[in-house]
């Protein structure tokens, strides 16, 4: 048993591609170790390097430099042994195969034809069995890809934007299935740009931007990286607040205010002292319908991806 090995280990991983006039650093030096049984969210805007990192973890892309290993082995070996599997964002399905044929074909390549029924039941694709893939909705195709990922009963499951194309209900169902299926010990790494998914399902969040890891820690500690809370209030009845409105200048002048956004008749203020701002708005600033929000992952995300360019080391916070 190789339980002493990390489920996934990336060391000084780089991947660049030729692009107009030079090379594009898709992954620009990342270090990551995921232990067996962890549930990790890879969070980051489009272009952050999540998919490229995942491709390297699966052996679909060769790193430019650095190492990647799954349970101490080369990714391709781990894939062949069925220890790691994935739901890919850009992996295709064959249009004119039926759902059942697709599952059966992949199952037979893994040597697990006996698992076809239970996997299709678990992912609610059994009732789509005879439908051609091209006739399935985006969400149904995602469920099919999920079924394919579960077939080899992998120790590490990697999901790249697993709920892309799903409506709210389908998304809820998907995470419910994940919770049911999450057998003890299965390592799950999922890439998403839905912050609430990361918050609700992951124990650990790795924040990526521009090919680097800019934060890595438990959900609560990453959230705490966001300085302060948001206070939102309505300043006028209709229309959009004028940029020259003196009340905006007053608000900006408050010591604790770090950011201010106008949304139509409402203003959204990021501050480290929400009480002071609230008092100001209620006492003389003519603000109404106040909303004060708890420190959120969204704030952390926005702040860090807006300002981070090349941090010397990632903010490693205690887990």
């Amino acid at each position: 048993m190789d339980n002493a090995q990390p489920a996934l280990e990336l060391q000084d991983l780089h991947k660049n591609f030729p692009s107009d006039g030079g090379r594009l650093n898709a992954v620009d030096g990342i270090d990551l170790a995921v232990d067996p049984g962890e549930i990790v969210a890879l969070l980051g805007p489009n272009g952050a390097g999540k998919t490229t990192t995942i491709d390297m973890a699966l052996g679909l892309t060769v790193p430019t430099s650095g190492t990647v290993s799954v349970f101490g082995r080369r990714p391709q070996e781990a894939v062949r042994a069925g220890r790691v599997s994935a739901l890919l964002q850009t992996g295709g399905l064959l249009r004119d195969l039926t759902v059942h044929e697709t599952v059966l074909a992949i199952a037979s390549l893994h040597g697990v034809k006996s698992r076809v029924e239970e996997v299709m039941e678990a992912t609610d694709t059994a009732r789509l069995a005879r439908r051609k893939v091209v006739k399935c909705s985006g969400g149904e195709q995602q469920r099919l890809k999920f079924a394919l990922a579960l077939l080899p009963d992998p120790d590490v499951l990697i999901l790249d934007e697993p709920t892309a194309g799903m409506d709210v209900n389908a998304r809820r169902d998907f995470w419910a299935t994940m919770r049911q299926d999450a057998t003890e010990g299965r390592t799950v790494i999922f890439a998403t740009h839905y912050l609430e998914e990361a918050e609700n399902f992951a124990q650990r969040i790795v924040l990526m931007n521009a090919g680097k890891i800019i934060a890595d820690g438990s959900t609560s500690s990453v959230r705490a990286l966001a300085a302060g809370r948001t206070v939102a209030a309505t300043l006028q009845a209709h229309g959009t607040i004028d940029a020259g409105d003196p009340r905006l200048a007053e608000l900006r002048a408050l010591d604790s205010v770090t950011d201010l956004q106008v949304n139509g008749p409402r203003v959204s203020i990021t501050t480290t002292d929400s009480d002071a701002v609230a008092r100001h708005l209620l006492n003389g600033g003519q603000g109404t319908e106040l909303e004060i929000s708890a420190p959120s992952l969204e704030n952390a995300f926005v702040q860090m991806t807006r300002t981070s360019t090349t941090p010397s080391d990632a903010d490693h916070v205690g887990a």
């Binding site: 679909l60 890919l88 399905l93 249009r95 004119d96 074909a105 992949i106 037979s108 040597g111 034809k113």
Partner: protein
């Protein structure tokens, strides 16, 4: 290579009705039209009768369409990302290619067989039984040429319409290659250098041994083989270059 996987792939190819029209029905139909409805049909041609000669020609055409389509389709599916899905399984590239080769051979063999069966039932005749087997085998083996052709076209045009382009090209090449209608004069001289010419000449060798119906010239065996080898190299290199170009584009 995996039996269930190959079976599913084969079933899928055969379900494509549009394809079947070109691969199975069209060659047979053309045999019926060209081979049966004219008075010269029962005249002798080389070591058999004209019907056999036409049957062999149409079977060669059918084989080329079958081989082109199967490999072309597999190239397109790679482009649509199925290759990445397969990349998550233990199937190695060699096993994948072997599986595709089996599917291509089966479909091609079916294309030839259908025409042969209709030919046999309608009086196509050859002097010796082995000539049927030899013609069949040569058509099947020679279809590799068009497997490469199909792959190169699919990788170059990179879309579903690539198959339509390939099929269209095959029709043109077949006319130019002396497959459907006997050519003569300058057209025949030019035809000698087209891809279908060598292939269909070899398929007809057991019957005609290089003689023509449109002229008195005889093609020596080495000339036909040279044509096939040359086009094998050309299509093979084109396929490899197209794959490289496709991979480099990220």
């Amino acid at each position: 290579m995996n039996a269930t996987f190959v079976r599913i792939d084969l079933t899928r190819q055969l379900r494509d009705v549009m394809n079947l029209m070109f691969v199975l029905v069209l060659p047979t139909l053309m045999y019926v039209i060209f081979g049966l409805s004219f008075s010269y049909a029962n005249e002798s041609a080389g070591n058999g009768n004209v019907k056999f000669y036409i049957m062999a020609s149409m079977a060669a055409y059918g084989a080329s369409v079958a081989a082109t389509t199967v490999t072309g389709v597999s190239a397109v599916e790679q482009m649509q990302g199925w290759g990445r899905q397969i990349g998550l399984t233990p199937l190695r590239p060699a096993g994948f290619v072997a599986g595709k080769a089996v599917v291509a051979l089966v479909v091609t063999a079916m294309a030839i067989a259908v025409v042969f069966v209709v030919g046999a039932l309608t009086g196509a005749h050859a002097e010796h039984g082995w000539m049927w087997a030899a013609t069949f085998a040569i058509a099947l083996a020679g279809s590799i040429l068009f497997a490469l052709f199909g792959y190169a076209v699919a990788m170059l045009f990179k879309s579903e319409s690539a198959m339509g382009i390939a099929s269209g090209l095959l029709v043109v090449l077949s006319f130019l290659g002396n497959v459907f209608v006997p050519l003569s004069g300058t057209l025949l001289d030019v035809a000698r250098f087209t891809p279908m010419y060598g292939f269909v000449g070899l398929v007809r060798w057991p019957i005609l041994e290089g003689t023509q119906s449109g002229s008195t010239q005889v093609d020596p065996l080495w000339a036909l083989i040279a044509n096939v080898v040359a086009w094998l190299l050309i299509f093979g290199i084109a396929a490899v270059l197209a794959v490289r170009r496709g991979r480099a584009r990220r």
